[in-house]
Amino acid sequence: MTVLGYLANGLVFSSIIVLGSIGLSLVYSIADFANFAHGDTMTIGAYTSLVTFGAIGGLGGAVLGLPYGFFVALVAGIAVAALVAVGTEKLIYEPLDIDSIGLLITSIGIAFIYRAVIQIRFGSESTDFDIQALRPIDALLPYGIRVTLHDVAIVVSAVILVVGLHVLLQYTDLGRKMRAMADNPDLARVSGIRTKRIKLWTWVIGAGLAGAGGVFLGLFNQLAPRMGFNLLLVIFAAVILGGIGSVYGAMAGGFLIGMINQLTPFFSNVVEALPIWPGWLARVAEGLVSIEYANAIAFVIMVLVLLVRPNGIAGEGAT
């Protein structure tokens, strides 16, 4: 594969990571804790759309290789993920009287409950959407790019959702209130913003985007009960890289982490080609920059960012 091919793959994977990281970052800044259940919220979205799609079928025509029914299922996945998150906030998080660390630990319990319920219902094996896998687009093959129409659909849908969020945050009343609350919750409250209601909307948007990300992840790879939890740390890496609490930072971080993740094979080719001396160092470098360590590289970047620039690459107050 060429560099362009890896970049194209990176773009697709980045779209999924971006959808996940925006929600995590929003919840982090407005509900004020690291939500470890975010990955499993993605799983909920994915399995909801699997069930919905299985129930309603294709509904006739198709866009970008995906039947209409899939898009209905996508909306269902987003809606159910948002509903579950709001229900959890109302039932569990809101009545709790503990600090953000306690909320973090609670969210781990929530994550286990989500995953356990899905695993009880669907088993631990991975499944696929009942959609015919497509051949890569012929026109792009000469450039070494192997993407299918489905991949294009993922990127286009993610862009639509991200632009929609941008409009919401910048040009609507709700968006202004959310930004105010992320900035200073007490000040927002005394200014007459109903912070509880804004928090619920944050959960709706964050979990909805996560649900969409989960559906696309299922389309991109497969569906498995662990899919979300396995991706959670990569998403955390993206959020931290972009700066916690900054939505645009999370977009940038998600994009970068997704790219780095998919470009790892390319990097490993580069490392092999580089004249590293002495020989053992070259072997170590080749061993560590390989596809098995794609996630590990993201985690190491995350720790480095935390050490060097705890506010992320975007800096502070970029929301």
Partner: protein
């Protein structure tokens, strides 16, 4: 609760949750003993469970030294546990790709040294971070360790894991051949269902002895450390790090010491697990181990070593108790276990965030309390008492 109806002095001194825990433990013990006598539970398997409970207690002690004492959110428990297990397995196992066949004592030492190095590697970058960042970073680094163990086949045998691990007492004078030399006993308590005590039973009892030694020693060290001036600094850091710094304490250094202490204890749990299970694989580094230890600590009560012990036993009950559901085809035990763990976490945080046995008298030197034990609970609130009398 007829036991509590005739109050002995010691029991009446206990606080309410302590009585509950005592009652439940006694009932549980009676239940286990019944299962043992009727032959529903094999004696060797029972001792295996006791060993496992001891191991989880050890793991919880380690986490308690970090989170309970100092408030460090360490989500890399599984990494230290795994490093301890792999360190000793690589030294002692027949199938080890590097050394192998060495004395388990050497394995123990190597495991602890490697865990010390790893604790420094993880601790130096992460301990300066804010609490929630520490959680994420340590979980990430634990995953890095897991991926290395999984992928570096020349070092760890990769996903195949390590087999052919000897018992811990291999090469010791009497104990190495103790299981084989002990006669097979046949106890008939209930006619028709005899209990056989064979080599596996004696081997398991040696393991239980070992974990009691590990856990007992650790418990004593931790109890001493927790009450010492050193432990007081840690507790100050936990409640207010800025205050500790204002008092002239180098909090980073104290956090590092507590992190290393806890990590070594976790590695010790790993060493024991190696010789208990006789197989080590990359699956043992799964993050779920970390969260098992966390559940044990927050359920027992953060900062309480007794609580950690209690939590460890509960975890084994959840982990192994669900195995008996294998016969029931309705529900798969693996997700059920996950569900139970999740529900326990949420329920504890919701209803009793301080845990079942929060540290109270544990933190006070025994001779600082007068002979009557616990101070009396005032009938009315403290504020009312203070408001009532000006010159007391």
């Amino acid at each position: 609760m007829s036991l509590l109806a005739n109050p002995k002095e010691t029991i009446s001194d206990l606080s309410r949750p302590e009585k509950w825990v005592l009652g439940v433990s006694v009932a549980f013990m009676v239940f286990l003993f019944g299962a043992l006598v009727t032959g529903a539970l094999g004696p060797a398997y029972f001792l295996f469970l006791v060993g496992l409970a001891g191991m989880y207690a050890l793991l919880s002690f380690g986490l308690n030294a970090q989170w309970g004492f100092t408030g460090l959110i360490n989500f890399s428990v599984a990494a230290f546990f795994g490093i301890g297990a792999y360190g000793s397995a690589l030294m002692t196992a027949d199938s080890s790709p590097i050394a192998g066949g060495l004395n388990p004592i050497i394995g123990l030492v190597v495991a602890l040294v490697v865990a010390l190095v790893l604790a420094l590697l993880i601790g130096i970058p992460t301990l300066r971070l804010r609490a929630d960042y520490l959680a994420i970073a340590s979980l990430g680094l634990a995953e890095v360790v897991r991926l290395i163990v999984l992928n570096e086949r020349w070092l760890t045998n990769g996903s195949a894991g390590l087999r052919g691990i000897p018992g811990f007492f291999k090469g010791w004078p009497v104990l190495s051949s103790f299981p084989e030399t002990m006669p097979g006993l046949r106890l008939v308590i209930i006619p028709g269902s005899p209990i056989l005590l064979e080599t596996s039973f004696w081997r398991a009892s040696l393991n239980v002895l070992l974990v009691f030694a590990f856990a007992g020693g650790t418990y004593l060290v931790l109890r001493r450390a927790h009450r010492s001036p050193w432990g007081r600094v840690l507790r100050t850091i936990r409640s207010d790090e800025d205050l500790a710094r204002a008092l002239g304490k180098n909090t980073y250094s104290f956090k590092m010491q507590s992190f290393i202490l806890g990590s070594l204890i976790m590695a010790l749990a790993g060493v024991f697990y190696t010789h208990l299970n006789l197989y080590v694989g990359p699956g043992d580094l799964d993050p779920i181990t970390t969260f098992y230890a966390w559940v044990a600590v927050i359920l027992g009560g953060s900062g309480s070593n007794r609580g950690a012990l209690f939590g460890g036993i509960v975890i084994v009950t959840i982990r192994e108790g669900t195995r008996f559901l294998n016969e029931v085809p309705v529900i798969d035990p693996a997700p059920l276990r996950l569900l139970l763990i999740g529900v326990v976490i949420v329920a504890v945080m919701r209803y009793r965030p301080q845990g079942v046995l929060p540290p109270q008298r544990e933190l006070i030197w025994p001779n600082a309390i007068d002979d009557r034990g616990a101070p009396e609970r005032p009938e009315s609130g403290v504020r009312e008492q203070k408001g009532g009398g000006d010159d007391e």
